[in-house]
Each structure stands twice: as C-alpha cells, then as structure tokens.
C-alpha cells in the first residue's frame, strides 16, 4: 500500500501531523496502537507552564528562548506562528479553545490546584492570575461519582476568593448507573447523559439546586462525541455554568480523540486503528516501508515517515534492565547508561527518565547509528529532551513538533 506519508502513532502529535499533511493534499496513513493518552487530557493545552527552575511562566514564547538547546522547542522555528496554526487546526476539528501563546492563564486541576496553561477548551473554568471571577459558586457533583474530590476542589476555590457550596445532584438514570459503582466514571456518566431530553432534565435539577450562587461548576461529564450537549446545557441553565476537569478517563479527551480522527478521515486520511508498526525496511539512510502487526504480508510504503509513538506509556520507547530503546526502527535513543540514575527517590523531584527519547537532528530527522534517516521524522513525546511534567509542556511539544515535521516534509 502506497502513501505520501505514513505516521506511526494516533495520539495528539500523530493526528496533528496527519491533519496538516492531509490538508495540504497528501495521501496519509496513521497506524494507531490502541487509544492514546488524549484520554487523560485535562481540557487544557500546556505550552510551557514552568521554566527549568520550576518557576511559573507568564509568557511562554519568551520563556522558550531560555530553554536548553536539547529541548525539542529549539527545533520548531516560529513558536507564535505555529501556536496560532495549532489553535486553528483544533477549531477546524470542532475543538474550540481560548488562550494565547504570549500569555498563560490558569486552569483548575481535578484536585483543586491552579496550574499555568496555554489553551483551555471553551466551557471550562479558567482563572486569571490568582482570583476567580465569581464571589459565590455552587460546586455540583453527581451522587456516586467518586472521581471528583469536591472537598479539595472547594478548598482550592476558596483560596481563589470564592464562597463555595457543594451540592449533590442526581437523576433516576444516574442512580441506575450506580449499579456498577466501580464504573461510575466520567465517560460512563457521559454515555448516560447522552440525549437532549436527559440534558434538559439535568438542567432543571441544576436550576432547582442553584439557590443564590452566581455561577455553577460541574465535573466535565458531558459530550463524549461533540460539544452540542454541553452547549444545550449552557442554554438551559439560567446561571453561568463551567466545567471542571475530572480524574481520567477524560470526557473532553475522548471527544478530542474522536473529533481529530474524524477531521483526519474527512480530509481523506486512512486511520488504521488498533494496529501497530513492528518493523521498518531501511536501505542506506532511507526508510522504504514499514510492516504492521495486523497487515501481515502488506507493506506500507511512503515517501516520508513520522514516528509519533509517544513515550514509555505509548511504548514509543521501551526500557529493560539494561537499556532504553526504540522498538520499531531501532532509532538512537538519549538515555543515561547508569540505571541507578534513571530515577530520583523523591517522587516529587524531576525524574531523569522523563527526558529519555529518540535522538533527532535539527530538522527532527530520526537518528540511527549516528546518522539521520533522510525521510523519517519524529514528533511528540517520543522526542528526547522534554520533561512534560516538570515543564508543563506536553500538548505544546506534541502539536508544535508535529506541525514542524509537516512543514519540513511539505517544504522538501
């Protein structure tokens, strides 16, 4: 099977790259191993939340300049232009966000903490500085839903200057869902709240319990396929209402995965779901084709390839007792030889293994045995040099490196 570009990995970076290339008229295939870490998404997109010293960043565009040369952002070019392109790409897929690259705002975590971020999906609560816009809020939660620790969130909101009342709400259908108490997760609740009729009843329940609150906060449990039902709820509730991120699996993340895939396929892309690249056929410094686990006997051939297989969790890189390696192409990996140095005992410290990843040259070409593969690029968390937890930089690295790779391929 022949394509212009084959992308390994169907998460945020793979899909971003795929959409950008398909938009430019390329024939693209994405090989996706299972579902991606988008399912842990917070509803926000981080670009650079903290600098290397751990200080909160106000202007990520400026702060990126101060990152070490080994960071992937040093290979992406014009950050401001790319961030605008990323936000447009999301919007075209049906993911509307607010925020800008030149100035971080704050998001509220599921544990009530405040973290700097770049973009947040519309309908989510955001915080400017250290004050929330409302004096009195009702924090509502669905009875039996445990992935939303209201006490922590209420404490967090109080620190931001709001008075908070916690209000339990329910509907007969939600009560019914408690039959499997372990499965009262955000995504299963979203599947119950899946029709206009039930969302209207949810709105009445919210209105009835709102008493004198100025605004309503609700866990993000609405709209697994698109944002239409969230929109409807907003119209039906007679006070401002905002969502708060929950513990995963994440409803907005599941929705993003679905919408980005849909957009990619609508542009003519081929999405091979639940398959994985197992091997590449390389001659000299060129990758000719890859083989996948499921399409035995069919090689995927392409002019260019992109490795967007993620970090350890996505198995883009794998460790054993001796080494860290990249399993598909045997690409060069940056890691510390002494295994004792991979981790720090204090879990709150930055963990060195988080920066392990595939080596690339300045154009993000994948390195193999010290030489760049001329038609193979890497994007996203598979890249070395980024500790996304410490820097709060996950989505930004995913999208900006993916767009850079797409540009590098198109400008060849």
């Amino acid at each position: 099977m022949k394509f212009n570009t084959v992308i390994m990995g169907g998460g945020l970076s793979g899909l971003t790259c795929g959409i950008a290339l398909a938009q430019a008229g390329q024939r693209v295939a994405i090989v996706a191993t299972g579902q991606s870490s988008l399912h842990f998404a917070s509803g926000s997109f981080d670009l650079l939340g903290y600098d290397s010293e751990g200080k909160a960043v106000e202007n990520p565009v400026e702060a990126i300049n101060a990152l070490p040369e080994s960071h992937p952002y040093k290979k992406v070019g014009d950050v401001e232009k790319l961030t605008a392109q990323a936000q447009d790409l999301l919007a075209a897929a049906g993911i509307k966000t607010t925020g800008k690259a030149g100035k971080n705002h704050n998001r509220l975590t599921p544990l009530g903490a405040v973290k700097p971020t770049w973009l947040t999906m519309e309908d989510y609560i955001t915080i400017d500085g250290d004050k929330i816009n409302y004096k009195q809020v009702a924090l509502m939660n669905i009875i039996g839903y445990l992935d939303f620790p209201t006490k922590f969130i209420a404490d967090g909101l109080r620190k931001l200057g709001a008075e908070v009342e916690v209000k339990p709400i329910t509907l007969p259908e939600l009560n019914e869902a408690r039959k499997s108490p372990t499965e009262m997760r955000a995504t299963n609740i979203a599947k119950v709240l899946a029709s206009e009729a039930i969302v209207k009843r949810l709105a009445s329940e919210i209105n009835a319990k709102a008493s004198n609150a100025e605004a309503i906060l609700l866990p993000a449990v609405l709209g697994i396929k698109n944002s239409e039902l969230a929109q409807l709820l907003k119209e039906q509730v007679n006070k401002p209402i905002h969502f708060v991120a929950t513990i995963p699996p994440s409803v907005p993340g599941t929705r993003m995965q679905a919408l980005l895939r849909k957009r990619f396929e609508a542009l003519g892309g081929t999405f091979l779901n639940g398959d994985k690249a197992v091997k590449g056929e390389i001659s000299g410094t060129k990758l000719n084709s890859i083989e996948t686990e499921k399409l035995v006997g069919t090689r995927l051939e392409a002019d260019n390839f992109v490795l967007a297989t993620g970090s350890f969790m996505g198995r883009g890189i794998v460790s054993d007792y001796e080494k860290v390696y990249e399993p598909v192409l045997g690409a060069d990996v940056d890691f510390i030889a002494d295994r004792a140095q991979w981790t720090r005992d204090n879990v709150w410290e930055a963990q060195p293994y988080m920066e392990f990843g595939v080596k690339t040259d300045a154009q993000l070409h994948v390195m193999k045995q010290g030489k760049p593969l001329s038609n193979t690029y890497a994007a996203g968390q598979v890249l070395s040099g980024n500790n996304k937890v410490k820097l709060a930089s996950g989505e930004g690295v995913d999208m900006l490196t993916a767009l850079t790779v797409a540009n590098n391929i198109l400008n060849k």
């Binding site: 099977m1 191993t33 299972g34 579902q35 991606s36 870490s37 399912h39 842990f40 019914e176 869902a177 408690r178 039959k179 499997s180 372990t182 499965e183 997760r185 995504t187 299963n188 599947k191 119950v192 697994i224 995963p248 699996p249 599941t254 849909k262 396929e265 081929t270 091979l272 779901n273 639940g274 398959d275 996948t292 686990e293 499921k294 399409l295 035995v296 006997g297 069919t298 969790m313 996505g314 054993d320 007792y321 001796e322």
Partner: protein
C-alpha cells in the same frame, strides 16, 4: 539474568500489563447502555486478580459480554481483555446451556435440517404464532426476523454446477464457506466463485467443513467447538499441502479460526493460521503486488456505506475490503464510524438481550439513515441481519458488490498471461 526474567515473565493474555486506565471501558458497547454490566476492566483484568485467588469471585454478569473485542482494540497496553473474560466464563460458569442456546449454537445442524424443509421452516418462523412460542418458551425474541433458509445448500449447488469446471484453472484456492453461505445465502458463495474464476483461480471445497464454532463458544458448548475446530484444521492442512490458500467471506469465521481457536479453545492452528484469509484481503494483496487486475463495468453505479464489523476491527482488516471497494469507479463509498451493531452473533436473538442489543446499535442505525445510501457493505453476516432488520437498508458483502460490478470478460482478458 534480570532481563531474561522480565522478557519471559509475560502472563497469559498480557493480564499484568493493565495500567487500570479504564480506556477499555470507554469503548465497551455494553457498558454504554447497560449499567448492570461491570465493564471490561472490572470483568477482565481486575476481576481476574480476585478469581485467581478464589473462583467464587466469578460473576454471572460476565455473560453480558458480547465478545466484540472492542476493548482489546482500544487498550493501549495490549491486554487481551475480551479473552480474559471469555476464558473466565469457560472456566467458572457451571450452568449448562439451555435448549434455546443449543439451537442457536448449532448453526449447521439446525441449518441442514431447515434447508431440507426450507419453505416450511421459513413459513413457520414468519408466523406470528410460532414466533410467540419461540419468544415465550424458547426466549428467542419475537422482534427478530430469522434469516431465511435457502432451498438448496451452497455445497449442493457447487457440486452440481461448478465443481467440474474448477480443475481447468492453473491456480487454486479452497473456500471455507461457513454456515451462512451454505444454508442461508448461497448467492454469496456463487459470487465468490464468479470472481475467483474470472481472476483465473479454481475454487474448491474443503474435504470436510464444520461450523467454525463461534456460536458454540458464545453459548458455552466448548467441547463441541474444539472438536469442530480440529476437524477444520485437519481439512485445511491437506488443502495447504496442495498449495492452496483458504479464503472466506465472513470476518467472524475468519477471526474465530485464526485467533479464538488458539486463544480460547487450545486448538493448535499455528501452521494454518496465516493461510486463512478473507477473500477481499486475498484479492487486494494480489492487486497490490501487481499480480492481478480487476476490470469493472462502466454502467455500475451505487452509493454504499461501509460498516466495520467488530471482529473486522479486531483483525484490523477493514482497510482491505474498503481499498478493494474503492477500486470500483462507479461506487460512491461512505465510511460509517466503526461501532458495534449490537447483534453479536446469537446474543441479540435472546429475549433477555433484545433491548440492550438494539440500544447498542441505535447510533449506527441513525448514521445509516443519515448517510442516504442504497446499501450497506459489511463483512459479517450477523451484522447484516441486525442492520437490515433495524434500518430496512439492504446489506451486501463486499464480495457480492465486486461480483456485481466486475466485468468478467475484461478481467479474464487482463489476467490471461499473468
């Protein structure tokens, strides 16, 4: 040493790789509509930890699993969630199958009885009275239209009308037709023979073919499934020894024989597995390698939506059927979102499952209605019953679409000297 231990220490069905991320549950069609079902993570790797300690932790709710394997496709950690659940059912479920389950499971026995008396059987199951009996006594849901039985089995037709000509071809395949082609819809088998012959391949039956056993597995008749599996494997071995690939037209039979035989039934298929393939994949791969060309009629025109059956999704092969269909110039192909139709073989036929079954399929049926198509294409026969019953839109196997669109004369001409 440590490394070797790590490499060899892989638990059955990758059960220990589970990260407890719950992504599988997001994509389980049953969890979505039936809160009484604990979902794949809880029924699979989580429950298995308890069951290993004490079998009393086995929960009857596990029979609500459709065995659709969508949880496995979704799992980022390669856990065979569906297999863990099926294995637990096999190991711990002590209820013996009901008469109803035996009837639904024995597709070939019931099929051959019914073909003999097809007109009567079709008439009987279409009568309100006998449907009421099926519903109340047998607990087979009254809303179901039973697939009609053909009056002449595919095998009978083949032996009388086609077999003799097959030896004149220089290349050959064996055809595992399955129960559906044999008893319910011989036309699909005839379509396959038409295409293969046009491409220069002779088609042969296996020495002895038994139902693949998927319905037996679903209804708890494991020993019988295993015996039939072994018969099939030995027939296939002799076909393979003659250099023949085994082609099929059903995604579920294919998946069962390639993966479930080994994973669930302990039938040794390691030497046969890679020789079993869907006919659409067989054709696509030949074309892709430049060994075959198809020519299509100029006057063929149709708008069709493709539905990815669950086991097709699990095999990752929808790309083969859709790529082949896209080669037909007059075909306007619409891709439906991949989701379960709710029937899952015999599951949806049972009264206790009817409602769940229809709820699962609901959004698919809506998508089909919105797609404004003349037909739906899918590689699974039970999806066909479910979609036809629930939407009224005719459902075709991709092979039947190709057979309709192909220009036989031109195709023969194109492949003459290959």
């Amino acid at each position: 040493m440590a490394n070797e231990m790590q490499l060899n220490n892989i638990s059955e069905n990758n059960f220990e790789q589970c990260l407890k991320c719950s992504i599988c549950t997001v994509y389980c069609p049953v969890s979505a509509v039936n809160p009484a079902y604990p979902g794949p993570k809880q029924s699979g790797p989580d429950g298995e930890r308890y069951r290993l300690k004490n079998p009393e932790f086995f929960n009857d709710a596990l029979k609500m699993c459709l065995n659709c394997k969508r949880c496995e496709v979704a799992c980022p950690s390669g856990v065979n969630v569906g297999d863990i659940i099926q294995k637990a059912r096999m190991k711990h479920n002590t209820h013996s199958p009901k008469l109803r389950d035996m009837m639904l499971a024995n597709t070939d026995f019931v099929g051959s009885m019914a073909t003999v008396v097809a007109p009567v059987a079709n008439f009987a199951v279409s009568l309100g009275v006998s449907k009421a009996v099926l519903h109340s006594v047998m607990k087979i849901d009254k809303h179901r239209t039973f697939p009609a039985y053909a009056s002449q089995k595919f095998e009978t037709w083949f032996k009388r009308n086609a077999q003799a000509q097959q030896s004149k071809y220089s290349k050959h395949v064996s055809f595992f037709h399955g129960c559906y082609v044999n008893y319910n819809f011989p036309q699909l088998g005839k379509d396959l023979v038409k295409i293969m012959n046009a491409c220069g391949y002779g088609v042969h039956l296996l020495d002895k073919e038994k139902c693949c056993g998927t319905a037996l597995i679903a209804n708890g008749l494991y020993d019988q499934a295993k015996r039939q599996g072994e018969t099939n494997m030995s027939s296939m071995r002799s076909a393979i020894a003659k250099g023949r690939t085994i082609v099929t037209t059903s995604s579920t039979c294919t998946f069962t024989m390639r993966d479930e035989y080994h994973h669930l039934l302990d039938v040794d298929n390691h030497d046969v597995r890679d020789h079993i393939t869907l006919a659409t994949r067989f054709l696509f791969q030949l074309i892709d390698e430049g060994k075959l060309k198809l020519a299509f009629r100029d006057d063929y025109k149709k708008r069709v939506a493709y539905h990815t059956a669950c086991h097709m999704e699990r095999m990752g092969w929808a790309i083969y059927s859709t790529s082949l269909l896209k080669m037909i110039p007059g075909l306007d192909l619409v891709m439906l979102d991949s989701q379960c139709c709710g029937i899952s073989g015999t599951y949806g036929f049972k009264t206790e499952n009817y409602e769940t079954s229809q709820k699962i399929g609901d959004s698919l049926f809506k998508n089909i209605a919105d797609a404004n198509v003349e037909a739906v294409a899918t590689d699974c026969e039970t999806c066909k019953w479910q979609i036809e019953m629930s939407t009224g839109v005719p459902v075709l196997n991709p092979i039947s679409i190709i057979a309709d669109a192909i220009d036989v004369e031109k195709t023969i001409e194109l492949n003459k000297n290959r």
